[in-house]
Amino acid sequence: MAIDAEAALMTLLERCHELALRNEVPDDEYPEVIGYFPVYFPEEIVHAAGLRPHALYGGGNKIEVRLADARIGSFVCSICRSTTELGLNGTLRGMKGFFAQPICDAARHMAGIWGRNFPRQMSQLLLLPQNANSPATKRYVYDEYQRLRSELATQVGHEISDAAIRASVHVYNENRRLQRELYGIKRDDPARLSTVEAYLLVRAGTRLRREEHNVILREALHLLTERRVHPRDKPRVVFLGGFCEQPPLEMIETIEDACFIVDDDLLIGQRWILADVPEEGDPVWALAESYVDRSAWSPVQYDARKPKGEMLMQMIREARAEAAIITAAKFCEPALDDQLALAHRLNAEKIPYLVLEFEEKMTSFEQMAMQVETFAESLLFQ
């Protein structure tokens, strides 16, 4: 029975792997697709319009950037470059629209690049606020979401009703609950579910309607309960730096060879809302309020209630981790700015940490493996 379950789980993970790394949006894809650049996007509004939200996480280390290099400064992160490449080489030709958010200065330029090069696709910034602490914040987010709703309604040629958005919120609430459950297993029983597996299961959702993704997650959770687990003695660490540009899978595997990653910020936009969005009342208000009051943290959002050092400490405590791996994508200014502050905080708390830099396109991990192994050994024998 357990062997059958494991085989079924492997089949499911293989499917998720294929989905997660699928970049193509063919021009006959149905439902039609709205692409968005990280970190967070209120997918429910897109879903309620009858469109499929498509999170853009760059081209990874499987594509060759040839066209985009001539369009983007040499000192800009890889995800901007590879996403532009996917546009220029036709991989994303089927997208109906593209949205970026003001997560960083490079990301804001993506809306301009897209508009100049792909004039048939709607290309915009969704201006999520950087001030989360004003009594006026929720109303502003609400107004911006209503603007998005109106823009999408124009695209699909019909109004997007409150009832439709509420129904989407219901689907996404279930999705969030399932993801929380998945992360709960990773935290409480990390030998049962690796971070790479959790990652693939979550990322697959960016290529599916959420109803389908919910089916996959439910099945995975069921199969995981039947998995035979072989306990291993590895240090428990948290991983930071995967909120936007994604580290290669091989890098996560390299870390997991030596450590259990018991919490992380990989694909944090998919888990940005931390609790159920209210399903009563005005659904757009419920989404706006949830963005402000029930949300995660990352280097790209300022919120006076969430000082970065404090949030890291909370993450470590709640995950019962003994150390942290603090990473930043090459040229990622927000992560690089925070990296030092987080390291200072960890020093002050006497918590061991390892600092790594990555690029989505990296293909060699030997040196990183050596660093991680040395770090893990120092934790085991300290």
């Binding site: 200065d105 006026a136 502050a341």
Partner: protein
């Protein structure tokens, strides 16, 4: 007519401007001794009008950082920040400021920079916010983040009376009210609407004059170089915004430029090519960069920098209504964000229009290694503008203040080659 200020007497506008900048810097030394609260602000989206109404002394850390470049001291400050642990890929302005913090606030101008009582970071540059977080940790003060909703796309419009204009203005107004409450808490003073109205009246006058001053450069020859003299003028506009001194200075500058235009005096003796500059200067080699263009008879009559780094007010085309000062501040700040400050993400049409308005022969893009705010998509912008509008363009790359990224021979070669193209085009145009 008000008597001119001693610092403005008997000198040209550029010298007077430098004196005013030095006077402002020197005043920061003793701000706290005078009982003045100190605010750290940025040049893009700073709500200076409210701070002036509360009599804050203003520190512009961007100006502090660029001054380390101008004074050839930036390498030392950058090295301190990198030794402290900052990555070479972090904004060099941020690192110079960290270097200043690590130098007991001893600025190369001789000024001991005061600690802030308040720090405002607008969302016009995301690095502002990360920078303010560094201050939060270093100085132990909470930052005030002013989120300004800019353009959403290239042809963005939010006409007066539209729901969109109302929504964005309401958001800005709400935050300005929060800021006022914060200022009242810090200073122990009540907000004075009349004082805000007075400051706005000064700003209006400065901006009216500034718009004229920018327009003087539509004349051939251009009376000043936007990326050299213009930087001093803009420095005064920022540091003395909303003051009587600022108005007096702009009047002096206006008179001088009007006179030059009337007499046909240009910044470059034999002006041959007029170019639009896009991007920020290289302060550590500012004169050298300009010299490389002026030696070919090239002048920059206009630069997008003089709009976005000057608060964006000139492009909004509206002025404060001091009879309703706070509401008007919210309206104008919103418009300035949308049509001045956030424009660099979608600047292709604006640059082409600027080239037309200023009778320019081409556009020079200056990519900045550590400034992704202005430089990320310059190459793409350039491709679009060259193809769509047929304008000759040049792309060069260095940094704001990091001398390691200045490659003199390479930059000179590119500039020389660009002028060869311009010369050939001129010859062809004359022949046809």
């Amino acid at each position: 007519m008000t008597a001119p200020y001693p610092v403005l007497e008997g000198v040209d506008a550029r010298t007077a401007g430098q004196r005013l900048i030095n006077q402002w810097l020197a005043s920061l030394n003793t701000a706290h001794e005078r009982g003045q609260p100190v605010a750290y602000v940025f040049v893009m989206g700073n709500a200076v009008e409210i701070l002036r109404a509360f009599d804050f002394a203003l520190v512009f850390p961007e100006i502090n950082s660029l001054q380390t470049g101008v004074r050839k001291a930036s390498a030392e400050f950058l090295a301190k920040a990198e030794d402290f642990g900052f990555s070479p890929d972090v904004c060099s302005y941020v690192k110079a400021d960290v270097g200043l913090m690590l130098s007991n606030m001893q600025h190369p101008s001789g000024v001991t920079m005061p600690m802030p009582d308040l720090a405002i970071a607008s969302s016009m540059c995301n690095v502002y916010i990360k920078w303010a977080e560094i201050w939060e940790r270093h100085f132990g003060i909470p930052a005030f983040v002013l989120d300004l909703p800019g353009k959403r796309f290239a042809h963005w419009q939010a006409p007066a009376g539209s729901r969109q204009r109302e929504a964005d203005t309401r958001w800005v107004l709400g935050q300005l009210q929060d800021l006022i409450a914060r200022c009242e808490q810090i200073t122990g003073r009540k907000f004075d609407r009349d004082r805000l109205a007075e400051v706005e009246t000064y700003v209006n006058e400065m901006v009216r004059l500034w718009i004229d001053i920018l327009a003087f450069n539509r004349n051939r020859p251009a009376p000043y170089n936007s990326m050299l003299d213009g930087l001093t003028y803009m420095g005064v506009l920022n540091a003395w915004r909303g003051t009587r001194e600022g108005v007096e200075y702009m009047r002096l500058l206006h008179r001088e430029m009007a006179d030059k235009v009337a007499r046909g005096v240009g910044r470059v003796p034999n002006e041959r090519f007029r170019l639009i500059f896009s991007g920020t200067p290289c302060y550590v080699n500012m004169r050298r960069l300009i010299e490389l263009f002026e030696s070919h008879g090239g002048v920059f009559p206009a630069a997008d920098y003089l709009t976005y780094a000057a608060g964006g007010l000139d492009s909004a085309g509206i002025f404060y209504d001091p009879s309703r000062p706070l509401e008007s501040l919210a309206e104008v700040t919103t418009l300035a964000a949308q049509f001045g400050l956030s424009n660099h993400f979608f600047s292709h049409h604006t640059l082409a229009q600027q080239a037309k308005d200023y009778l320019a022969d081409g556009i020079v893009y200056h990519g900045i290694k550590s400034c992704r705010t202005v430089a990320t998509s310059m190459a793409d912008n350039r491709e679009y503008v060259s193809t769509r509008y047929g304008l000759p363009t040049l792309y060069i790359e260095s940094d704001l203040i990091d001398p390691r990224y200045w490659s003199d021979a390479q930059i000179k070669n590119r500039i020389d080659a660009f002028f060869e193209v311009l010369e050939q085009r001129a010859l062809l145009a004359n022949a046809s």
